[in-house]
Symmetry: C2
Subunit: 324 residues, 2 copies
Amino acid sequence: MRTNQWPQVAVVGAGAVGCYFGGMLARSGVPVRLIGRAAHVEAIAREGLSIDGLRIQERIPVAATTSIAEGLRDAGVILFCVKTVSTEAAAREIEPFLAPDATILSLQNGVDNADRIHAAIQAHAIPTVVYVAAEMTAAGSVTHTGRGDLIMGYRAGWPQRPDLKPLASMFEQAEIPCRLTDDIAREQWTKMVLNCAYNALSALTRAQYGRMVQSEPVRDFGVRAIAETVAVARAEGVVLSEPAVVEAAMVLAEKMTAATSSMAQDIARGRPTEIDSLNGYVACRGKALGIATPVSEILVAMVKLLEESALKRRPMSSPANGLS
Amino acid sequence: MRTNQWPQVAVVGAGAVGCYFGGMLARSGVPVRLIGRAAHVEAIAREGLSIDGLRIQERIPVAATTSIAEGLRDAGVILFCVKTVSTEAAAREIEPFLAPDATILSLQNGVDNADRIHAAIQAHAIPTVVYVAAEMTAAGSVTHTGRGDLIMGYRAGWPQRPDLKPLASMFEQAEIPCRLTDDIAREQWTKMVLNCAYNALSALTRAQYGRMVQSEPVRDFGVRAIAETVAVARAEGVVLSEPAVVEAAMVLAEKMTAATSSMAQDIARGRPTEIDSLNGYVACRGKALGIATPVSEILVAMVKLLEESALKRRPMSSPANGLS
């Protein structure tokens, strides 16, 4: 493939994940349009997208818009990067502007987004597992602190198209490692395990991964959440080695000592979290499948209370407080 | 007793609890000196102590100082209201200024403050169980949202002096219900159970008591924390009825629907919490006594991480974040 052969790429939900991958693609010469919030779009139009990270510190000129219609014009590839709470809503928003042969890559957490997109608009999205630590730290600015790679594969039982190799090449030439797999469900559940181990606990304690695993009771609680997730995955037909994923979780904490979870960021910003797609999905499927998930359940319940508290942001000056 | 017979009262650690009880005493004519932080002391010197609450909305003229020496001058009664993390330090600070016949009332959470004060300065403090919902909402201003009563009694095996009846009368005439008991340990553990049920969960979720008990998994987790606390109390010789204390906890949440815990306030203010004296004490004694306390342990571990995070207050603008 030559540069002028890259398809037009639209990033739907250009937050940290979308801006990082969209920005890296744009930097490599791929035509990209970011669709995001006005504050980011305005800053990017004015000064380009700033990526401050491990590999690069650059301002990247890239098209950005708040308009779905404009963002999706001529798009052959859509990076679908919205939070999982918005999957159906965003799918319905893009539906009227989707070219018949457009490829939707779901760069989302959880294991059921492709199903949910299909149920909403009958499109066959390609599940794409994302490993990246990134955060929007200012308007039009993404800070990148870890990894930045993708795993793509066809969903079992769905059409095996389009050919994913050219897409993988497009990412690779943009310095985005992209592995193809014939077992994407296993990759989704492997990532799911890591999210279920850390995201909720990090949100509740505001703690960094390194500190969390140094606390024996917290580490043990995370390991129990992993065990429940592995049990539900197995009942769903995805057999993971529990010792291997526990080990992977510990390695993650070692590598990303200073990291906090995206869920912790959501809480800090008073935004809805992805808990329903993570431990909430495990608890829900566990219930349906007759698998006990007590740790997942309490984590979900606590995060939902915290989320509600953070959304309310009850001012400190009008408290109603409890027994001392 | 006539008004001019009331002893001089010193409030050590005049936060919300100290200001509420000290203020109510001063309002009734008892000579009171509050010893507290400069910001509160200055506001109280300028405009009096503001109590905004259930019973009264008043500004009360009351002496206030940052000086332990000045505050304790001629004090016959000391309301010892410091957070349990400061028990030994505060005891040592007041020791040089204590009159030989001064009575120390420990208006603190937890069950071991009298022991700790005795170990630190060989004084026999009177355990005093506090039921009040109050918060410092501005310099020199306490907002009072629930109860405001005391239970006092001699510690078993210690000298049964001074006579507590005149002290109870002093509180009662100041509209502070004050019950005397010959089993203060039972009262301390009863309050302990409520603190162990709600304080940590409210701190972690920032949730109000009413919302917490509406969440079945969170309510169940709280009930398990209660069961562990009751088991440790029993091993310590205090037999509580588990159904009765669970019921009391539910009634508390009904009565104080909109309340959050003092631990939630500590976290919000970036201050150390009392976790070591509450669920932490239960976990620690449980370990020594061979009683399993898994819920207490995980609550303690999570609160300790949260406390560390809140103390640090890592600025949002320099994040290091985890996998999305």
